[in-house]
Amino acid sequence: MDLSLLIIQALNGVQLGLLLFLVASGLTLVFGILDFVNLAHGSLYMLGAFICASLTFLFGNFLWAVLVALPLTGGIGYLVERFVARPLYARNHLDHVLGTFGLILVLDTLAHLIWGPAGIAVPLPHWLDGQIALTETLVIPSFRLLIIAAGLAAAAGLFWLVNYTRLGMLIRAGASNRTMVSALGIDIQTLFALVFALGAMLAGLAGMLIAPITEASIGMGNSIIITAFVVIIVGGIGSMKGAFIAALLIGLIDTMGRSFLDDIFKLAMSPEAAETSAPAVSAMLIYIIMALVLALRPQGLFPPRTR
């Protein structure tokens, strides 16, 4: 295991982590402020990918497609809020889980009806399609660097939004004291709808960014949503900082596990045993981490101060 491989894997881990953060941040925002558990958040990730894929072929340009797909995904988020989430706010978490479980089935099937069962491969502009050599041995696909940049930019934007804008002030206030915000004369329903749409856009963005790597496909949201939940649980539900740190942590642990676990196991057991057990353990790794964190800190690593 040499240094440049280690660095590349660290970058890969960071890239995965930032992608997870985009999905998890919307989830934690919606949960923190609206106290709403949205299992169908992953479906918004999928819809973002499909919409962006279709638009890429329509416009012939990936970046334009992203720019148009973002508000469209936000609009879908708004509709989901209006017709599914809003009637469920007053209910318990169980109803949220079941209602959005039904929504997943609906949205997945709609995607199947609209785009067919085949996934869509998304082409990239030439300047994004190559590799960048950081040093002679450190070569990384340029698009993955773009994901890192976009993820960091979105994180910074969120940080600014939450901490330095009026909307952010309301969001923070709404998270800690809902009645107070309503008492201020703020239309809490519009605020909630905005937050939901923002969450949808963040998830959609993650879907758009992953589509050129894996392709847009039905059910892609269901695989990431569980990991995103692991992220926000480990980070502490409702905490943006927690989501960010936990996402990077999970991204790095997952990538490093896949990369080096078999080599590490080989130190302690036969090569054959190491090769069969390493993939199993690396698949379970993030759940083991989550169970450990919750066993020691039942509120996650960074529980938000309020509530």
Partner: protein
């Protein structure tokens, strides 16, 4: 007080129909419907046991499919070794070994995971129960000996005296009687002192603690009972399908079990059974019409959550008796 309440009558009629109709179908050459009823009865057992902690205990476990799966593997693994050798101490087809093993393994798993899960609350509890189920899922996937992701074919069913599980009618009979016993068991537990504490903790946790109840211990006990009953259902399911795979433990399966409980009506004796019936019958009907059946099915699930509070039992018993 009359001999049977309205709810009692409904329960009696539903259970009687469930007992009589499937054999009638079978004898008139519709073996498939008997299979459907057997599967339905087994899943209803799992739903009834989930209801103990979800309905009566207010604990939203999102990982109950793992217990069903583990129970099935507790039947499949000894049968596998009996057929193909290895691990002689485990190799058996005796139901007297396999079924208690299923119950014991799932009870132990529930004890260990429950001890951790019950330290958390709310969404954390929902998610950590799911995380443990995922861990077991990936563990089974990685054990090549037992088929990994491909699952394990059980070519021989559990051997029991008097009952031949290869006979579909007898297998249905066992599943049906087990379901009745499970319903009565949960009914008995929830009406006992223990059950009062469990329901009290759902209603007002702080009050119960102040009264002097160590509700953690009560909940853990209920979690273990529920897990073990699910394990038993899993043992039956393994015998029914003669095939087990990690897919049985997928989180969406846990979601389906939760749905059966809510659809039928949580914290009622018959509710989970009604839910299982409705779930499977609707699934069967819709999927025979179109491959896009998930769309109306999902809409129906959402509709139930949004509009039919109290589930089918709530609709059947009318508004007046509704405590919520």
């Amino acid at each position: 007080m009359s001999f049977l309440t309205r709810r009692g009558w409904i329960s009696a009629v539903v259970m009687a129909l469930l007992a009589v109709l499937p054999p009638v179908f079978f004898l008139t050459g519709n073996a498939f419907y008997l299979d459907l009823a057997t599967r339905l009865s087994i899943l209803a057992i799992a739903a009834v046991s989930l209801n103990l902690i979800l309905g009566y205990g207010g604990l939203v476990s999102f990982g109950h499919a793992a217990f069903v799966g583990l129970g099935a593997y507790a039947v499949g693994i000894p049968a596998h070794h009996w057929l193909y050798g290895g691990l002689d101490f485990l190799a058996t087809t005796s139901g007297f070994v396999q079924v208690p093993l299923a119950v014991a393994v799932t009870a132990l798993f529930a004890l260990i995971t429950g001890a951790v899960c019950l330290r958390t609350k709310g969404v954390y509890f929902i998610m950590i129960t799911m995380a443990f189920a995922q861990m077991i899922y990936y563990l089974i996937v990685s054990i090549e000996e037992y088929g990994g992701d491909d699952g394990l074919v059980i070519d021989t069913r559990s051997e029991l005296p008097l009952i031949d599980l290869d006979n579909p009618l007898q297998l249905f009979g066992l599943a049906y009687v087990s379901l009745l016993v499970a319903m009565l068991l949960v009914r008995m537990i929830t009406r006992s002192r223990f059950g009062m504490v469990l329901q009290g903790a759902k209603g007002n946790e702080e009050r119960m603690v102040t009264l002097g109840f160590n509700i953690y211990a009560y909940r853990l006990t209920a979690y273990v009972i529920s897990g073990a009953m699910c394990g038993y259902a899993g043992a039956l399911l393994g015998n029914f399908t003669t095939f087990i795979s990690p897919e049985m433990m997928d989180w969406s399966r846990s979601g389906e079990l939760m749905f059966m409980v809510i659809l039928g009506g949580a914290a009622t004796t018959l509710g989970p059974v009604l839910g299982a019936i409705a779930f499977i019958v609707v699934e069967e009907i819709l999927s025979s019409f179109t491959i896009y059946w998930h769309l109306p099915f999902g809409l129906m699930l959402m509709g139930v959550v949004l509009f039919a509070r109290g589930g089918l039992m709530g609709l059947l018993r009318g508004r007046r008796e509704d405590g919520e």
